[in-house]
Amino acid sequence: MTSRVVVALRVAASPERAFEVFTAEIGAWWRPNDFFRFTPRDPGVLSFERGEGGRLVETLASGKVFEIGRIRVWSPPSRLVFGWRQATFAPDQDTEVEVRFEPAGAETRVTVEHAGWEAIPQMHVAKHHFPNHVFLQRHGEWWRGLLEAFKLRAGEEIEQ
């Protein structure tokens, strides 16, 4: 199955600046929410270690550092790819986020594509600490494929 979550919008900035702020200032703009809980603890602060092979990490209030994923492609100003794991993922489960920055007139179109949600981990993993709805949200991609069979709304973009 090849379905995925794709969201895009335009920002009033050059691709260079958009890439820079996206990576260097993620700790300032990221909004912790249930869907993006990486660990069962209180959300911490996100940061990128610049360059390929660097990490995207969450630093918790206790000082502990959780590795969300390694940076797989670091191509400013156009493309960024990194791995994405949450603490409850099964050992063999890994997802990938690709962020593209494309010029759109004087602005930049930023597209986030989150792929790799096909496998559903075992129930005991999902039941440990996390409420069911969070577990299911993380498998939105697989559900999306299922829902397409029912001709329900699939995919949403905000265009501003």
Binding site: A12, W30, R31, F35, I120, A126, N132, G140, L146, E156
Partner: protein, 107 residues
């Protein structure tokens, strides 16, 4: 167990997810499903039972043959799942919107 737990339990097995994937293409008789997936009729029967109990599939007899059971995906749990899916997209939409506000506010 809640109905959601049952739905999830039914889907925890990758072989049952494969059955659901085939049914996405349209309703099938149990025998056709077994052939398409290369499993024995008895195993298919057990998997369909689990999926039925999970509320994911329903069966019906076609008018011309009451012995035949045709299995199809059940729309009931899908409406519930749709809401979670929307939350998934909402999650990234909110992050990008927050990114935009931050980016355009700074000089």
């Amino acid at each position: 167990m809640t109905s959601l737990d049952r739905t999830l339990a039914a889907l925890a097995d990758p072989r049952r997810r494969a059955v659901v994937d085939v049914l996405r293409r349209g309703p099938r008789a149990a025998g056709d499903l077994a052939r398409e997936l290369g499993v024995s009729p008895s195993l298919m029967s057990r998997q369909l039972k689990a999926l039925r109990e999970g509320g994911l599939v329903e069966d019906a007899h076609p008018a011309f043959d009451t012995r035949l059971r045709i299995y199809a995906l059940s729309p009931a749990p899908m409406a519930e799942l749709r809401r979670w899916l929307e939350a998934a997209e909402q999650g990234w939409s909110e992050q990008l919107a927050a990114f935009k506000v931050h980016l355009e506010r700074a000089p």
